[in-house]
């Protein structure tokens, strides 16, 4: 019994010793990462942000974007289409920029996911969505989507190779 107790105490000492050693190891320093690029919806930074501000935009959190970039995005939009009134969604320039200036991609967790399919608006972005035609139509197409017909579609209507129906969905590289 005594011997058992002694062995037990010895082991406890050893354990305490190791525990103490571990305690004295310095904790590894936390490694931080600084944001370099970001993207929500396609082509927001490339089309609506002025060249001098593109890096700044990439380092701005979404909550800060409307105040920081809303005015210049509106000016750049009106430079592209000076005749903008409203668009197919019925949005004025200020309302449209209000939507675009928080650069987050909306996605439904309960139903169909599409950038725009004529019925659902901004419920995700599927691979086959012609996001450029949607954006061109909202930018140039006026209230009924039919204004500036030469500018509302780039007439590239799909990818150059088929997507996969199953994971990982994207085609093999060329």
């Amino acid at each position: 019994m005594k011997k058992k107790l002694k062995i037990c105490l010895t082991w406890m000492t050893v354990l305490v010793f190791f525990a103490a050693c571990k305690k004295h190891e310095p904790a590894p320093p936390a490694i931080f990462y600084d944001q370099a690029d970001q993207m929500g919806r396609p082509a927001i930074n490339t089309v609506f942000i002025s060249p001098a501000d593109k890096d700044k935009f990439n380092g701005t959190t979404p909550t800060q974007m409307p105040a920081a970039f809303g005015p210049e995005m509106k000016a750049n939009m009106l430079a592209l289409n000076p005749g903008y009134t409203t668009n197919l969604l019925g949005l004025t320039a200020d309302q449209f920029i209000g939507v675009l200036s928080t650069d987050i991609l909306n996605a439904s967790a309960t139903g169909k996911t599409t950038f725009y399919d004529g019925t659902n608006v901004l419920t995700g972005r599927a691979l086959g969505d012609d996001v450029i035609d949607v954006e061109l139509t909202l930018l140039f197409g006026g209230p009924d989507g039919h204004a500036n017909p030469g500018l509302t579609s780039d007439h590239v209507n799909g990818n150059d190779v088929p997507f996969l129906t199953a994971f990982p969905y994207l085609a093999n590289p060329h």
Partner: protein, 218 residues
């Protein structure tokens, strides 16, 4: 060397979905090309695709690598306040991509760290030239892929540039897809929707890349 010069020359005139969007990321491992979020083949799941390093010609694709010092993150707002409530993080390590989350991040905003406790799996990077993609399944049934893929984006960007520059008044019909025949490096994660806790049924998602702060040697 000649190839990489040619690539830089091409990259200099092309920017698009988010390809080469800003001076400091252009041509870097941090350069995002695109983000997709859509319902999976199994409609109980959402698929997140984040791609980087765009406009890779086939001849340049095998040399394009994920960077062990570039953290790629899907940031997810699940309550409508435009602040990330969950993140899915991916970073290269030793031939594989480690994936963490979805987890509430310890730091929101532009300075973040890897949520190391929440590793959900790893997937070997599919090499260029592989006949089949290498896929893996992490915890919670989350599916993972990382590697070169066809760039899914399509756009007659050259004609758009001519329109913006006043050299053309309209698009051509048919147009010409500037991204045809080019590749990107993609991270693809398929996640059961129940793990995303979308209280209103809606999510807000954005993709970020971040660079490891200097002064650390891994």
């Amino acid at each position: 060397m000649i190839l990489s010069c040619a690539f830089v020359a091409i990259a200099g005139i092309v920017l698009a979905a988010d390809h080469n969007d800003a001076p400091s990321v252009k041509g870097q491992t941090t350069d995002i090309t695109d983000l997709y979020v859509f319902q999976g083949q199994n409609t109980d799941n959402l698929v997140f695709i984040g791609s980087t390093q765009g406009l890779l010609a086939p001849s340049a694709t095998s040399a394009a690598k994920f960077d062990p010092h570039t953290l790629i993150q899907f940031k997810i707002d699940n309550n409508g306040d435009n602040v990330e409530d969950l993140v899915i993080q991916a970073i290269y390590h030793d031939g594989k991509i480690n994936v963490y989350g979805p987890v509430r991040p310890s730091h929101t905003g532009t300075r973040t760290k890897i949520e190391k406790e929440d590793l959900i799996g790893s997937v070997p990077v599919t090499p260029y030239g592989a006949t089949l993609p290498i896929v893996a399944t992490g915890s919670n049934g989350i599916r993972l892929f990382a590697g070169p893929r066809d760039d899914p984006f399509f756009f007659d960007l050259d004609q758009f540039h001519k329109v913006v520059a006043g050299q053309a008044s309209s698009f051509n019909n048919p147009g010409s897809d500037t991204f045809a025949g080019t590749n990107v490096l993609s991270i693809i994660v398929e996640v059961p929707k129940r793990l995303l806790h979308a209280s209103t049924g809606k999510l807000g998602v954005w993709l970020t890349t971040s660079t490891q702060e200097s002064g650390h040697s891994d």
